[in-house]
Amino acid sequence: MNRELLFKTIPELAKLLKAKKLSPVELTKSYLSVIEKFSQKLNAFATVTPELALSEAKVAEAEIVNGNYRSKLHGIPYAAKDLFALKGYPTAWGSNVFKGQIFDYDAEVVKRLRNSGAIIVGKAAMSELAGGPPFATATGACKNPWDLNRWSGGSSSGSGAAVAAGLCTFALGTETWGSIMTPSSYCGVSGLRPTFGRIPRTGAMPLSWSMDKIGIMARTAEDCAIVFKEIIGESSDDPFSINAPFNFNRKKLLERISQLKLCYVREDYENFGEVEVGKAFEAALNVFKTFGVKIEELALPDYPYETIATTIIVVEEASIFEGLVRGGRVKDLIDPERRGEMLGGHTISAVDYLKCLRLKQKMMYDFDKIFEKYDAILGSSTLTTAPPVEAKMSEVFKGGNVIEAAENILGIPAISVPCGFDKKKLPIGLKIIGKHFDEKTILELATAYQNATTWHKMHPDLK
């Protein structure tokens, strides 16, 4: 089997598929065979769907042969986080409590990808109910393809691991607070978390209806842009979803980028992270300077970002999973801290919750002013590289990176791209944050960065 083929980008594969030089069935079989070989080693999948994948691949092949080429995703295999409904297949949301749950419909994004001709190879493993430390998952801690003793990140754990290990071309993930950025950074893949409401969430497990976002994890920023274009847009079933234009353009990239004004967040790597991550970030800033862009340091407005994010999520998840507390099944959650969170969410006052929503509104005014001055904000996706599988949450997230809470409260888009490795040969992530509905700018900046670097072309040597 040609392993190189499995690490090709979407445009590279699409070119071969469209020209009928590569069969969707053969490509799907290749991915299924590596999934069989590595999936259990990594705990990357909750469910593998070989029958469905092969039947979709056969349809794709027949359509392409007959000249009915649907999109650049036609015949491309992908994985969806186990949080998305897939008709007739288990969707346990990473939890033993929901083991055996089967929906009789597909999530809206799964439908949209099917219409584009993409092929689903399985449901990627995830942290229990989209949150918690490495051990908090019904499928076993998801291991990092760069070092099997380390975690792939969460909560889109399997999505990050599967893309990094070459088990699929791209994967769907979700983020409420860090769930795409963290695994993208730890696994060395490109991860796009779009603006809140850009991608409809129908058929996806809700954790916090005011903060949940669906995103994409892939080999490059351009791959993310291609998938993004296929799944954006309003859906009547998700009242928060919205239509907005998206015109990603690779042409004359550097000419446009040189006109942009960027800022960056200086993190305390010594106290909250790793010095090597800080050095990689400095090096990435220098790459942007070579494009001729202006970069200034940003002082974040003063807010209790993490408190606001925590309060909103804890209250909304307690409301969503009220049945677990009411019926006493909260005890069956794997992580004791999460059990306390579910119970505690019921006792936070409505006044405190509403105060957070009012603060969110005030934050929006302040960040609007920042984005009047700057086109994007640069930062580190995570302040550390992948922690050991047995790490506790307090060790994984020591603090710092408060802008991540701000981004998620506000629902502004961001992309994480690989920007180096530490001495342990673990990937480091660079984050580019944009204003609402301006995925175009961050994707173009990330593409320019990837055109100038090779970090995204490095793959783990799994045996």
Partner: protein
């Protein structure tokens, strides 16, 4: 007792706590009240009595959340900053008025 003596007595009484300490028990407030920590820990939720284990999980949650709660309660928001989802009044067209007209 004339008015002058009465005033002196009242004045002296006001200084009394400075010289004579009240019994210790009277001052021994719950530590949780004096440092602004959350005191409320329910015994039941949704009419279901919490198990001993559940109380421990809940208590641990509060240990982590207390700082956040205090942080929130220290913020005073301007009254005009209403939540985004509450419409500004008066509304341009009053639905209630229309319905009344139709009636």
């Amino acid at each position: 007792m004339n008015r002058r003596n009465f005033s002196k007595l009242i004045g002296a009484t006001a200084f009394l706590p400075a010289f004579i300490q009240p019994p210790f028990n009277l001052l021994k407030l719950d530590a949780k009240q004096t440092n602004g920590e959350i005191k409320f820990l329910p015994d039941e939720l949704y009419g279901r009595k919490l198990s001993a284990e559940e109380k421990i999980w809940l208590e641990n949650f509060y240990k982590n959340y207390e700082k956040s709660k205090a942080e929130l309660q220290n913020i005073e928001l301007p009254i005009e900053l209403l939540p985004a989802f509450i419409p500004k009044y008066p509304m341009k067209s009053s639905r209630t008025k229309k319905q009344t007209d139709e009636d």
